[in-house]
């Protein structure tokens, strides 16, 4: 054995191949099956893709690095279920490119935060967290009152469809209009958003000013959608055993 290695280390190509083989096995065994196992590839029947406005909000969530302090993954532990709600299922994030499960809770988990607080609370909290929660250490985001740039949403939906997210032609064509209409409940396009996505989606003026669609509208729409894209975690009782 030692003799073998004695010769191996005289060969740079031998070392290179050895390293590639040794370092590939584990990843292959752990990752490849995840693309075939039912539990990980099954999509909940009622799972809907995010609306353009929610997707724009998700982009802002990523841009501002919210994932560094907030997880979106309730673990199957009693205290987490009591604190946050039903534990997260694999299918819930099937359309999330990338997933935003997070790794640190400097602030609380957000997987079940949709519908928990009012829009007005979120707007006040994001504008100045300490106005609502005096002990908060979250940064303030006053610049979210800027108008939302909706121009890239159509191509983004189209790109996601190429990766398997079920956006229809109509959704892609109307992405920019839908983004605005979802925050303008009295506009002509409002009915169309519901028609294309789901009766259950929230069409409201999220930031309290109907006149224009802001980044705040998008981010609040996204936050209110968290945990609401499918009812799977609420409908199904926890499985027996582990």
């Amino acid at each position: 054995m030692l003799r073998l290695h004695y010769n191996l280390e005289k060969l740079s190509t031998g070392l290179v191949l050895g390293i590639i083989i040794a370092a590939s096995i584990g990843g292959f065994v752990e990752i490849a099956p995840l693309f075939t196992i039912g539990e990980t590839v099954e999509r909940p029947a009622d799972l809907r893709p995010q609306t353009p406005l929610e997707l724009a909000g998700r982009e802002i969530y990523m841009r501002e690095g919210c994932y560094a302090c907030h997880s979106q993954m309730v673990r199957s532990l009693a205290d987490e279920i009591d604190r946050y709600g039903p534990y997260s299922r694999a299918g819930e994030s099937a359309f999330d490119h990338p997933m935003l499960w997070g790794s640190k809770r400097t602030g609380p988990d957000l997987a079940r935060v949709g519908g928990k607080y009012t829009d007005a609370w979120h707007v006040a909290h994001l504008t100045n967290p300490r106005a609502v929660v005096p002990a908060s250490i979250m940064p303030a985001y006053p610049w979210l009152s800027e108008p939302l740039d909706t121009s890239g949403l159509g191509p983004e939906l189209a790109t996601m469809r190429r990766l398997g997210v079920p956006y229809t032609d109509a959704m892609i064509a109307d992405a920019e209009r839908d983004a605005e209409a979802q925050s303008q409940p009295d506009s002509d396009g409002a009915a169309g958003v519901k028609e294309r996505y789901s009766e259950k989606i929230v069409v409201r003026d999220f930031d309290g000013s109907v006149a224009r669609v802001t980044e705040m509208d998008a981010l609040v729409a996204y936050i209110q959608s968290l945990g609401q894209l499918t009812a799977i975690a609420h409908d199904q009782p926890p499985a027996d055993g582990e």
């Binding site: 390293i19 040794a22 990980t40 490119h97 997933m99 997210v165």
Partner: protein, 543 residues
């Protein structure tokens, strides 16, 4: 830099510089607006500056033929300078974001100084900027000495170093302007990722070509680790960053992975960035500089083989321990946990091998702060790998995950192990590359050492306290069966630890600053002398 290039290399360099300028122009022209224009402009400016410098020197006298009988250390000098610049900047941002968790309104609420945008600047800056430059710079130095051969050519090391630093700059400025893939430790956008692949291929080819010229029959252990670092980081980087750009004229891309598969790929990448970026490469550094500085041969050759292959094989399995109790299938979590515990064997074999190497040289450890940096690095490597295996055990992880314990664990590895071994290597290298016996301010090394050790301990101990407190408060139930503490109460309990952590980080930063000043003073007093023994063995002509 340019004087050491042959005329042909200057011409090739000129062509590369023009291509870079053109690439920058193309990016800026395609994007029209937004951060990609800024990044295009950066490439354009760098390309034009290099073109200008090379064009002016193309017909200067060629370098002396005798250069082939020396090692080529200019890239190492530049790499160490970049290491120190990134260290000061990125650790500075680290202290800044630490302070923001205690004083959230310390800096004005404008987008680019927001915690969420600064945090990846800190992580990318220290991992890639500080760690990456240190690895590349020392790998060139170690590769030449252990092969007794000069680098295969003079141009590609510069492509590697300048290209890598452009990647780092693109990455961190992108976050500040709000572009990110939001994949932790892989936040840079698609064009920066592609650029890094090109640079990495040049790096690998240079490494293999230089190895092929070696005058030693055996490839030394340090090079096995550097090779593993180069190869596996390439695999991880490419697979984790696979993405479809929304448009080739914009920074936005959509990662091809989603949901649970993305989580697994992300932490397969994330934990092996720890393994092959922050461990393998730095073990390569340790395997060269520790024996050289202590004047003792590595204690056990067999143990080196065992730990090298153990680390290369086991590490890849352990990423799933980041996903205990999540929606990832249970058996994958169990595999990750099992391999994490087995990983302790090769990890402690390395740490033990390093410490046993110092047997017979303990008086040097006592007297020489540089060697002491390396000793402390080996001790912290042993401690943090033990802690890592421990935290990967499922029930322990149920308490520690999502808390500051993880942050403390990471920093005991990065401050205690990675940074300490880098400082040990730098204090060995810089005097030598400056043709001097010792650093310009030898006593400042002692100060740096104690600042670094104290800072690390204050940081790590405060984060242990923070994390365990958080974990216990979150799971605490009262007699009536309801949760005892609100989330907010657990946050308020963190305040003293966050303050202490900022102080610990500040001490570490002060030490780093001292190191940078010391190195710059030493480099300014360089004599240009090269020790007679520090020369390649000239291979006989083959004809």
């Amino acid at each position: 830099m340019i004087a050491s290039l042959s005329i042909a290399q200057r011409r090739n360099g000129l062509a590369f510089a023009l291509c870079l300028a053109l690439l920058g122009l193309l990016m800026a022209a395609a994007a029209q607006h937004g951060p990609m224009v800024v990044h295009g402009a950066m490439a354009l400016v760098l390309g034009i500056a290099l073109t200008g410098a090379l064009a002016r020197a193309v017909y200067d006298p060629p370098p002396e033929a005798a250069r082939a009988s020396f090692y080529y250390d200019d890239p190492t000098r530049f790499g160490i300078a970049m290491t120190l610049i990134w260290a000061v900047v990125a650790m500075g941002v680290g202290v800044w974001v630490a302070a923001l968790l205690y004083w959230p309104e310390a800096t004005p609420a404008v987008p680019w100084t927001s915690f969420g945008r600064l945090r990846p600047v800190h992580t990318t800056g220290v991992i890639f900027g500080f760690g990456g430059n240190a690895l590349i710079a020392t790998s060139f130095y170690v590769l030449q000495r252990t092969s007794r051969a000069r680098l295969a050519d003079e141009l590609s090391p510069w492509i590697v170093l300048l290209g890598f630093n452009l990647f780092c700059l693109w990455a961190v400025t992108g976050y500040l302007m709000g572009i990110t893939q939001s994949k932790e430790y892989a936040e840079a956008e698609w064009y920066a990722d592609l650029w890094l692949v090109v640079i990495w291929v040049v790096y690998f080819v240079l490494y293999i070509r230089t190895l092929a010229r070696r005058a030693e029959p055996h490839i030394y252990v340090a090079n096995w680790y550097y090779l593993a670092f180069i190869l596996v980081v390439a695999i991880l980087h490419i697979i984790n960053n696979l993405a479809l750009p929304v448009s080739f004229a914009g920074a936005k891309s959509v990662t091809i992975w989603s949901g649970v598969q993305d989580a697994m790929v992300q932490w397969w990448y994330g934990h092996n960035a720890v393994a092959f970026f922050l461990t393998a490469g730095f073990l390569g550094m340790l395997y060269y500089f520790l024996p050289v500085r202590s004047g003792r041969p590595i204690w056990s050759y067999r143990l080196s083989i065992l730990s090298f292959w153990g680390i290369t094989f086991f590490y890849i399995w352990v990423g799933s321990h980041h996903l205990h109790y999540t929606a990832l299938p249970y058996w994958v979590q169990t595999l990750g946990m099992t391999f994490s515990i087995m990983l302790l064997v090769p990890s402690w074999a390395s740490a033990g091998n390093a410490i046993a190497t110092l047997n017979g040289a303990w008086h040097k450890v006592r007297d020489d702060a540089t060697l002491r940096f390396m000793f402390v690095a080996a001790v912290f490597y042993g401690l943090s790998t033990f802690e890592g295996s421990f935290l990967a055990i499922r029930p322990v992880n149920s308490l520690s995950h999502y808390t500051d314990w993880t942050v403390g664990h990471v920093h005991s590895g990065t401050l205690g192990w990675v940074a300490m071994i880098v400082f040990g290597a730098i204090y060995t290298l810089v005097p030598q590359l400056s043709g001097r016996d010792q650093m310009a301010w030898p006593r400042a090394i002692e100060w740096h050492f104690w600042l670094a050790v104290t800072g690390t301990l204050v940081y790590v101990v405060s984060m242990w306290n923070a994390g365990i407190t958080q974990g216990l408060m979150w799971r605490s139930y009262g007699p009536s069966g309801t949760l005892t503490y609100s989330f907010l109460q657990s946050l308020q309990a963190m305040a003293p630890y966050y303050l202490l952590r900022t102080i610990g980080g500040g001490m570490f930063l002060a030490g780093t600053l001292l190191c940078a000043l010391n190195c710059s003073a030493t480099a300014r007093a360089a004599t240009g002398e090269v020790a007679a023994s520090d020369r390649p063995l000239l291979p006989m002509p083959v004809e």
